[in-house]
């Protein structure tokens, strides 16, 4: 019984497996990315689920060859819409809007993140939001410069510049706080 069930699943996924594989391999990265934008895991999950449901409906010929940037673009746009809507509904003031796409977490949140073994977050949180976002797209989601450009609407050279600058800042921070940095390096097997 179990085997036949597994076979059926395998057959279905074989027929459609470029989508299935993208789902299996990318969903966690997408959730992490959207969560970074929204700071709300449940909302991020909804956005990502929605994006994959959209992917099921999308025309394969249109999407397939750039499915990753497509997914990230869909998620990003949705997340920004949610942020805007949120802000409109709560009518946060202008200063807060300036920090789009990601609001800086307060000190408490930053500390929580560190406790959750997210030491990268400690350093990333101090970068400007646009640098932080391209870094995450590059290193967490493994998009190419060109794909990041597609997702964010920045030019490829602009993406390259932001990543370069961000890595440089990150490097300086790491040398300033060697304790934190090395501690985490050791953690890695």
């Amino acid at each position: 019984m179990q085997e036949s069930g597994a076979n059926e699943t395998a057959a279905a996924s074989a027929a459609n497996d470029w989508r299935s594989e993208v789902f299996e391999t990318q969903q966690a990265a997408l959730v992490a990315y959207v969560n970074h934008l929204l700071g709300d895991l449940e909302a991020a999950r909804d956005v990502v689920q929605d994006a994959f449901l959209r992917l099921c409906e999308a025309d394969a010929r249109q999407v397939r060859d750039h499915v990753l940037p497509w997914l990230f673009t869909v998620c990003r746009r949705r997340a920004l819409d949610l942020l805007r809507r949120d802000r409109r509904m709560h009518a946060l003031d202008e200063a807060e809007l300036e920090t789009l796409p990601a609001a800086d977490p307060g000190p408490d949140l930053a500390a929580d993140r560190r406790d959750a073994a997210d030491r990268a977050g400690h350093f990333l949180d101090r970068l400007p939001p646009n640098q932080r976002e391209v870094l995450l797209l590059k290193f967490q989601s493994a998009l190419s410069y060109r794909e990041i450009s597609e997702v964010t609407g920045l030019s490829v050279s602009n993406v390259g510049f932001l990543i370069h600058t961000a890595l440089k800042q990150l490097r300086h921070r790491l040398t300033e706080e060697p304790a934190l940095a090395s501690q985490t390096t050791r953690r890695t097997p």
């Binding site: 099921c56 202008e94 190419s144 390259g160």
Partner: protein
């Protein structure tokens, strides 16, 4: 090559983002300069640290029940693959099954050898293939599989870094995809042979046989996509669209995913809440005068259906009706009329009506019109209320054309065709004959036709005249996402050259009015929904002619409320027109367009400072700010006491790029509702109707019966009989929505 140590290309090189000569040049430079070498190594170390950190941080992913939902959708999709998909899957697959030895892999594009290298299939295939990143990153990397992209893939343990790589002076140049930069998009997209598809499907086969590690990346980067890739050329060879264009594209994707009844973006379009003036003194939005929502509501109620919330846009309901505003007389092309009186659904509140009226143009002064109608003749346009109605409607317009106007007709379905080249209005017979010949049939490809239409409009451009493409559709664009992005870009580009876009929506089932509205906005245009011949007359003859002549563009309104007089305020409608306060003075930010004789009505509900009613706001009173402190007038001279608000209006002349600004100070004369003008009372009753339909939390004491009563008392002279029709509509709503 002289590269400064701070050159972003160093990072790009380490991350394997460079190609061809540039990559070689940077690689060579790094190996000839101690400083650059150190820099590259430092970048590598940072990148490595970040990768490892991000990999180690928790990534919860979707909730299990969400995974189930998506997998079910994927499986459902898997069962309905069409022949084309299967083609794509199967043909290359058989090729892959033959390719079981490394020797078969060599002819593949260089970029794919890189893939194979990652998977540890054959070290020989990757000779030098992944030089920079692997050399810089891999030896010190932890043995985990880090990411799904080749650019950040760690080297599998089984393939040690070749010792010789550090000794090479010029890094090998097999990253370049030779055809990619030089082949024009048309050619790149042309061949659809197996060869083009082989790499991807071979990877898929490897996957199937368990040769790929989890976390592989399925789709090649654009830069390394083999020639003949099936994706549209734009995604590979055209510069990335601007963020604005992308916005449309993606929002549209969201809309398209939603059921026809629509729970798209507008679904979540919450009503504007009350804002406390003390915290949010400014209300900013783009002024626009679309009216499609009213027709949609009428259509739903006519079918005895409850209109979905997202089609009920209160500002469009209010602006459906003409009000008696005097036209401007001075230099300013827009006149402002203000009336303040009691609020019928919340007696302790005040209602502010702002009426803006654009300068009209006498018929004789009307500049020549160069109109190109782009007409959807796909099969879905066949029903009576679509193409046949459109043909009747256009007849009405043709009757009004003068000899100096010209009209062209372009139809689109499975292909696009110019049915009528630009023809002067004097040749009415030819225009009507062409109209009569239109028939629905075929599928829709909106973008090809729109290019033809714009070309015609440009070819017959009338400087000083009206140049406009009028898109008539049921909204059923059978075009893909990328095409839609291009379409939006095209529309915006054309608007910059002076050819604007108007969209007329027909039919209902699949009319995505959010999409169409966005397209029209992008083209500095407007859109309307046409459901009856009466409506067609209103839109095409009464309005379109006026609308065609834009007298002010990028019209924006910013209202500053005086906290000494106003506790809080609420803008009725205009939710999707909201602007940030600072966008008001930013001329790059789009506002609305006002056509000749156009008028726009705006309602604000105000809680006076003397009657703070926090309960009505849904927010508890503040603990640390006393109401008295909030009522302190701002330190400003002269004392603004008695001023209710200041309205700031910005607009551009049709050809201008710099906006003009006018400020108006408004005081409350203390009128009661009963003392207000008929126009005011009628607009208020329409707003109440909209709130009742939306079941708004702000509807207060309003009921449909009350609306009928109030509107019935406010018919005025009712030219055109629209107000009387409104009363009938509310009566119908009573039957559809008993108890409201």
């Amino acid at each position: 090559m002289n590269i400064p140590p701070d050159d972003p290309r160093l990072t790009a090189y380490v991350l394997e983002e460079l190609e061809g000569a540039e990559r070689d040049a940077v690689g060579t430079a790094i190996h000839h300069s101690e400083a650059l070498y150190q820099e590259a190594a430092a970048i590598r170390d940072t990148a490595q640290w970040l990768l490892a950190e991000l990999q180690a941080s928790p990534r919860p992913g979707l909730a299990p029940e969400q995974v189930v939902v998506v997998q079910a959708a994927l499986e459902a999709k898997g069962e309905e693959l069409d022949a084309e998909d299967l083609d794509r899957f199967d043909t290359p697959t058989s090729a892959a099954q033959e390719a079981d030895g490394p020797g078969r892999l060599v002819p593949w594009p260089a970029s794919w050898r890189r893939w194979l290298g990652w998977f540890g299939l054959a070290a020989a295939c990757v000779v030098g293939g992944v030089w920079g990143w692997r050399w810089l990153l891999a030896p010190a990397r932890p043995p985990m599989v880090v990411a799904r992209n080749s650019t950040t893939q760690s080297l599998p343990q089984s393939v040690p870094p070749p010792a010789w790589v550090t000794e090479r002076e010029v890094p090998p140049n097999d990253f370049a995809v030779p055809t990619e930069p030089t082949v024009p998009p048309e050619q790149a997209a042309a061949p659809e042979g197996d060869a083009a598809l082989r790499p991807m499907t071979d990877i898929r086969m490897m996957m199937r046989y368990g040769l790929l590690p989890k976390g592989y990346r399925l789709v090649p980067e654009d830069s390394s996509a083999p020639p003949g890739s099936l994706s549209p050329p734009a995604s590979h060879t055209q510069p990335a669209p601007t963020p604005v264009m992308r916005a449309l594209d993606t929002q549209d994707q969201y809309r398209r995913s939603q059921p026809a009844t629509g729970s798209g973006l507008e679904a979540g379009l919450a009503e504007n809440p009350f804002h406390e003036v003390f915290r949010h003194p400014l209300s900013t939005f783009g002024l626009d005068a679309d009216t499609a929502s009213y027709s949609l509501v009428r259509q739903y109620l006519g079918r005895h259906q409850t209109p979905p919330r997202d089609v009920i846009r209160i500002e469009e309901l209010i602006n459906y009706f003409p009000y008696d505003y005097a036209s401007p007389t001075g230099e300013v092309p827009i006149a402002l009329h203000v009336e303040i009186a009691g609020c019928p659904w919340a007696p302790e509140h005040r209602l502010v009506r702002l009426g803006l009226k654009a300068r009209g143009i006498a018929p004789l002064e009307r500049p020549p019109c160069n109109l190109v109608f782009l007409i959807d003749v796909s099969g879905s346009m066949a029903p009576q209320n679509r193409l046949p109605l459109l043909k009747q409607a256009l007849r009405l317009l043709v009757e009004k054309l003068s000899d100096q106007d010209s009209v062209a007709l372009v139809v689109y379905a499975s292909d696009s065709r110019t049915v009528l080249p630009p023809t002067p209005g004097s040749e009415r017979g030819r225009i009507l004959a062409a109209l009569d010949g239109l028939q629905a049939g075929g599928s829709t490809h909106g973008s090809a036709g729109i290019q033809t239409a714009y070309q015609l409009a440009a070819a017959h451009f009338r400087s000083g005249g009206v140049n406009r493409v009028v898109l008539c559709t049921d909204g059923d664009f059978n075009v893909g996402i990328t095409d839609r992005t291009q379409l939006a870009a095209l529309i915006a580009d054309q608007a910059r050259t002076g050819v604007f876009l108007t969209v007329l929506g027909f039919g209902m089932g699949n009319f995505r009015d959010g999409t169409v509205e966005t397209l029209a906005d992008r083209g500095n245009g407007n859109y309307a929904y046409v459901d009856t011949l009466n409506e067609a007359h209103k839109v095409l003859v009464e309005q379109l002619r006026a609308t065609l002549v834009t007298v002010a563009k990028d019209v924006k309104v910013q209202v500053e409320f005086n906290p000494a007089e106003v506790h809080s305020y609420r803008l009725l409608g205009y939710e999707n027109r909201a602007l940030r306060a600072r966008d008001f003075n930013d001329d790059r930010r789009d506002g609305g367009e006002l056509g000749a004789g156009h008028q726009v009505t705006v309602l604000y509900e105000i809680v006076p400072a003397a009657v703070p009613a926090p309960s009505a706001l849904g927010v508890d009173p503040l603990r640390y700010q006393s109401p008295d402190a909030r009522r302190m007038p701002p330190a400003r001279e002269p004392d603004p006491g008695g001023e209710l608000l200041t309205l700031k209006l910005r607009y551009k002349a049709p050809e201008a790029n710099v906006s003009e600004r006018r400020d108006f100070v408004v005081r409350d004369g203390g009128r009661s509702y009963a003392q207000a003008s008929a126009d005011f009372r009628f607009a208020a009753s329409v707003a109440a109707f909209g709130m009742i339909l939306r079941d708004s939390m702000y509807r207060g004491s309003s009921t449909l019966g009350g609306v009928i009563e109030l509107a019935g008392e406010a018919l005025g002279t009712d030219p055109g009989g629209y107000r009387a029709e409104f009363v009938e509509l509310v009566q119908r709503a009573q039957a559809v929505l008993p108890g409201r």
